[in-house]
């Protein structure tokens, strides 16, 4: 029970971070169908903003507010400066992907120049919660609660607000959305702002736990991308559940194999799911190629 309990706690804690990355990517991808690999930069931007504010004495909540603002600003800027102009030029999905990759490279390099390549440890060492033999840093417990609140909030946004209806509409059918009078560029911009801001709690908690550096976002974003595709394009629930399941496979997988094999198992499952269900576990038919807003 000791090892199982600890691995379960680790899995849920990491799963919370994965869920936020997956949900953020999912919000953007479902609306725009743009392969936004630069999503990793939102994690980086949020992490550094949180670090700067936290180490100026404004605490965890100040760091969180700064991280949300930085993530949102990152998403807005990237959409306005890179993706929107490319859409107007009728760039292909591949061209947008390459632009996204280039943007991430430039942003990571700029961060590295500004802050240096070192892992910046935050000035507060988090306290640890104990439940029997299971131990977990307190910020991860906060992250689990925050993630649950964020998932509920996004669900309400998507199902109860005009903005949410618009995002779901452009996700389902772009042409009909245009015909219905939805301002697609504005909907896309909102998707980028929202999706990028969603990663902020994960960036702050992971920064507090293990430090902030210019490179960490990429692995986490890849997990988010895989969860979105495996969970099912168009399905927020699929992305969330798959991200959580991935974290649990990573941690509980150690009960039956060594850590060298957990990623092999994870990505093997990903390929198997895609072959069996190309639309993902909970996905419906794909809207079609190219956003062309």
């Amino acid at each position: 029970m000791g090892l199982f309990g600890q691995l379960l706690a680790n899995g849920v804690a990491n799963g919370a971070a994965y869920v936020l990355l997956a949900l953020g990517f999912s919000v953007i991808y479902n609306a725009t169908r743009e392969f936004h690999i630069a999503h990793a930069g939102a994690f980086t931007a949020a992490g550094y903003a949180g670090h700067v504010v936290h180490d100026r004495g404004l605490g965890l909540w100040g760091a969180l507010a700064a991280a949300v603002a930085a993530g949102a600003l990152y998403g807005f800027t990237l959409d306005a400066a890179v993706y929107a102009p490319l859409r107007r030029l009728r760039a292909s999905g591949l061209q947008i992907f390459v632009a996204s990759l280039g943007s991430l490279t430039i942003f990571s390099a700029a961060i590295e120049i500004a802050f240096g390549p070192d892992n910046l440890l935050w000035s507060t060492v988090p306290s640890v919660l104990s439940l029997g033999s299971v131990r977990l840093p307190a910020p991860f417990a906060v992250l689990v609660v925050l993630t649950a609140a964020v998932v509920a909030g996004v669900h309400l946004l998507m199902t109860r607000t005009v903005r949410g209806y618009e995002l779901r509409a452009v996700s389902d059918n772009l042409e009909l959305s245009r015909g219905a009078g939805i301002r697609v560029p504005a909907a896309f911009a909102f998707a980028y702002v929202l999706g990028s801001a969603l990663v902020a709690p994960a960036a702050v908690v992971i920064g507090l736990d293990a430090g902030t550096n210019p490179y960490r976002g990429l692995h986490l974003s890849l997990v988010g991308i895989v969860a979105t595709l495996m969970g099912g394009i168009g399905s927020y629930a699929g992305a969330v559940l798959t991200a959580l399941a991935m974290a649990l496979v990573e941690s509980l997988g150690l009960l039956v194999s060594s850590s060298e094999w957990t990623r092999v198992i994870l990505y093997g499952l990903f390929i198997a799911v895609l072959m069996a269900r190309p639309h993902g576990l909970l996905g419906a038919a794909v809207r079609g190629k190219g956003a062309g807003a």
Partner: protein, 382 residues
């Protein structure tokens, strides 16, 4: 009008030719100060950037010193850096770029996986590789053009294993290693020597370079109830692992080889008490003072010494090649290094063996108040 243009062209030609006729041609000035480009393939960005910073600082310091003293055999050394980001695939591209742009006869390298990736390319192009930062044992004799200025893993692994099993009487160990060539090699070397010394390795778990969470591996390690945790991971990861091991209340000593000797690890409070080995190389006072003056840092790890020594090996080899009336090509430098063999390093003399490796005594110490306190020094003769 045409006549005016003709005069104008003649005047322009005369102005352009003047330096040559007066014996002050730019080419002649350059010829008087011959330059020899040396490559350096380091982790300047990415997860290994902390190492790259230290290594490049020492390289610059040594190159400046050589050039201030008149250069190497009349050649001014110029170092050109390429960034391998601690990734072998990036390293191959970076190494080819160095060869294409500068054709250096010698390249300094770091990391086992990187050095092994570029060694065959170097051999094909007759370029000497001086590994001053990777310690995987598989680099011994890996290429006729490869010289390891830094002692390889086996030495430290043997000393650490014996110390833990015999001196500290810790009967079981768990290993957490970086999942790359260097990490796997350090892990297997430790296991071999620890079991030979009567210890038992309860588990060896891998970790991804640059990960933020090692709790899963640490939880599994804890469940095997080892008496010591041995790390074969790199600097930034080591600091995080030390912190997370403390959070999980492993309650056992943590030990590692000299890869742990980085500012991030010293700065991490959870590293206090960590048992560490290091190459017993005490730098000369003049070097330590100059390093402190230039970089406002103490020489805390072996890398400033090995990279400084690497540059000195190149400089000595170039001097010999020039004295023998040859050109400083990779082949000639290789022959010169093999002919010289014994070099005076900044921390004492060292000798290249036939398999391109060097030996050195090993310190066993403990991290106390952000510094290493040496407990004993062990010389292993082989």
């Amino acid at each position: 009008m045409r006549e005016t243009w003709t005069w104008f062209r003649l005047a322009a030609l005369a102005v352009a030719a003047a330096p040559f006729t007066l014996g002050i041609a730019p080419g002649r000035a350059a010829a008087e100060e011959k330059e020899l480009v040396v490559g350096a393939l380091l982790a300047m960005t990415g997860q290994g950037a902390s190492y790259g910073k230290i290594m490049s600082q020492a390289t610059d310091l040594a190159v400046d010193e050589v050039n201030r003293a008149g250069g190497a055999g009349g050649y001014k050394l110029v170092v050109k850096y390429e960034d391998h980001q601690a990734k072998p695939d990036v390293a191959v591209l970076a190494f080819n770029s160095l060869l294409r742009r500068y054709s250096p006869p010698a390249v300094l390298s770091s990391y086992t996986s990187i050095t092994l990736a570029v060694a065959p390319i170097a051999a094909r192009n007759n370029v000497v590789v001086l590994n001053a930062g990777g310690q995987g044992d598989s680099m011994a004799g890996a290429s006729p053009y490869l010289f390891n200025v830094i002692p390889l893993n086996g030495l430290e692994a043997e000393v650490l294993a014996r110390y833990l099993a015999t001196t500290k009487k810790l009967p079981t160990a768990a290993v957490l290693y970086a999942n790359d060539e260097g990490g796997r090699n350090a892990s297997s070397a430790f296991k071999k020597f620890y079991e030979a010394a009567g210890g038992r390795v309860t588990i060896a778990e891998a970790s991804q370079l640059g990960a933020s969470d090692f709790r899963n591996q640490l939880a599994k390690i804890k469940s095997t109830k080892p008496s010591v945790l041995v790390l074969a991971t790199y600097g930034k990861d080591t600091a995080i692992i030390a912190r997370q091991a403390k959070e999980l209340d492993l309650g056992i000593p943590v030990a590692q080889n000299s890869w742990s000797l980085l500012p991030e690890v010293f700065a991490e409070p959870a590293s206090e008490g960590m048992i560490v080995t290091s190459i017993a190389a005490k730098p000369s006072q003049a070097f330590a003072d100059e390093y402190q003056r230039r970089y406002h840092a103490e020489v805390q790890s072996v890398y400033p010494i090995t990279f400084y020594n690497g540059v000195k090996v190149i400089a000595e080899a170039v001097k010999k090649v020039v004295a023998d009336g040859k050109k400083p090509t990779g082949d000639n430098l290789r022959e010169a290094i093999l002919a010289i063999r014994r070099f005076d390093g900044v921390a004492g003399p060292f000798v290249f063996r036939d398999n391109g490796t060097v030996a050195a005594p090993v310190n066993v110490g403990v991290i106390e108040k952000g510094k290493t306190k040496v407990l004993e020094t062990v010389q292993i003769e082989k």
